[in-house]
Amino acid sequence: MIFRTAWKNVWRNRVRSLVVITSVIVGVFAGVFSIALMNGLIAQRVNDALNEEISYIQITCKEFRINYDPKLIIDNPEETISTIKLTEGVTGISERILITGMANTAYKSTGVQIVGIDPDEEQKVLNLFSKIIPGTGDYFAGESESNLALIGEDLANELNIVRYSLDSAVLLSLKGKGLPDQVIDKLVRLKGKRFTNEKQFIKEMDDLFAGAESKKYGPVIRKEAWSFRRGTKFILTFIDKDNNQVGAAFRVTGLYDISNSVFEKSTVFVKSSDLEMLTGLSKSSFHEIVVKTDQPDQAESIANTLAVKLPDLEVLSWKKLQPELAMMTDMVQQFYLIFGMIILAALAFGIVNTMLMVVLERTRELGMLTAIGMNKKKVFSMIMLESVFLSLTGGIAGMIISIIVIRITANTGINLSQYAEGFNALGYSALVYPKITAGFFGITTVLIIITGVISSIYPAMKALKLNPVEAIRAE
């Protein structure tokens, strides 16, 4: 009966209860969705880092990471590889040569890390092959030639080896994508011009269009006007194993596009056989072995196992390689809890206010209930239940709305492309897929109930202090 009475009491003043419930819905939705968004961002970052950039575990000589000396190769590579392959949980390995050098064109030079790979083995560990921009190349597939390089789109922009031009075909394509005629008419002024770098092209566009127009149409125009000639040459220079300066021309065999512009600008992939020859390293010499595991969570324990098996080598899991990533994944749960508690604390004040009004309005009724024999425990329980029902109704509705919105946006993604440059500079994708676990909702429900209980304490104590004789006579 107490449950039923408390539930019915919630709806006694429908408008007031709905206002409180709505505030709980909004608060819970905002909190859950924000957390899902952050979760999605972090999950994507970790996934991208592990599957496109650093992999799960990296193994090198102990001193190699101090100054990347090319002479510090892994001893007994075959035995080492065999040991790694036999370790439980390892699903792929790839051996690499790592050389620090410069990428040069007639226009620009920039420092890069040159990574010599066996393309077939590398595919088992990193999926950069799937990130190649269509039309720019096909990884190293079917290429028997030497001195081929896979570079990032941002590096190509940096070296000024991409082109932007607006010919008739491009203008027609833009019209087909729905750009208004007045925009096309303005672009005609740039027809026939070729720009060798993005900044120049953007500057011309900004001169043509007002700020809002530029923001709205700029990205699609840039995308259509962009072109790259497959096989474009650039020069890689570096120091070989004998400290001699070496340089060689490489042809681009593909441009990869990932969310991390820093990585794109700084990492060039070539065949390890080419790099062996240029650096003077003997065949099957490697500086680094990258290892893929079943799950990111397993990487730490497998790295520890490998460290014991390979005591002469440095074995680092992704958490040690990128401690900021580790910090995000490990600390983020505490952050979510604090964030959630702040939101619920704010909501609690609204509930406390409402429950105080409830007690004040029902002074006579509460006095009567005490008079006819409702003990303090039951009076407290009834008020506490009303508070819990209020918060739980709003909380459950808020969570249902969150689930629906998260489900939709987890499929479509949330497009933050207007901030793409900033996101990519930090290694994040501008298309975010919110993500939340089922267990999170269980914790949220418990927290909402606790909020309801805590919010009821002060109003319930006020109710218990009522003198039934005076309360019954109250107006």
Binding site: M1, R4, T5, K8, N9, W11, R12, R364, E365, M368, L369, T370, A371, I372, G373, M374, N375, K376, K378, P468, V469, I472
Partner: protein, 228 residues
Amino acid sequence: MKVLEIKNVSKTYNESEIRVNAVNGVTLDFQEAEFAAIVGPSGSGKTTLLNLIGGLDNPTSGEIIIDGTNLSKLRSSELIDFRMRNIGFVFQAYNLIPVLTARENVEFIMSLQKWSRTDRDERTFELLKAVGLSDRADSRPAKMSGGQQQRIAVARALASRPKFVLADEPTANLDSKSASTLLEIMEKLNHEEEITFIFSTHDARVVKMAHRVITLEDGKVVSDDVRD
């Protein structure tokens, strides 16, 4: 059989350094199935005496013994429980729980006492029939007249078969027809259930129906008339 003994009970209030003897040395006994009215001018101590009898207030001195239990010996939580099981209340303002139906209001105390569903339903039906409101069982108080609400309040007061019912000005807010109907029902229940009714009242109709009329003045019993 005595259901209630009031032994030299006094209640004094200290208000702004003035001592007020709301009840002053009252000694009364009540038997089973009495239908008694306590009358007196405003400020005579009627309501205070009823509050003391009902355990809603503590006497400054004296004892109140209900069915052998001295109220002053009970702890606060025991007193609330004792009240629930032994005393029924009918208030001047009907004081039903507005969100519950008539049926739910009547069975409220029985559910607090953890009666079984069957026993609750049986007793609720019996009482709603006795007060003539079986057809309004699923109506909420807002959908009933004042007289109907007060009848539900009487049914609720009798739900757990208390030793006696205290009614503080139960007809004060009712029209004459409703008041008459209510009093007839209460008298009938007094006979059928053999439960003592003690009224605090100004209503002449109540006084006329009562078997015993106790007159208070300045907190003292000035007369105690028992009628045949």
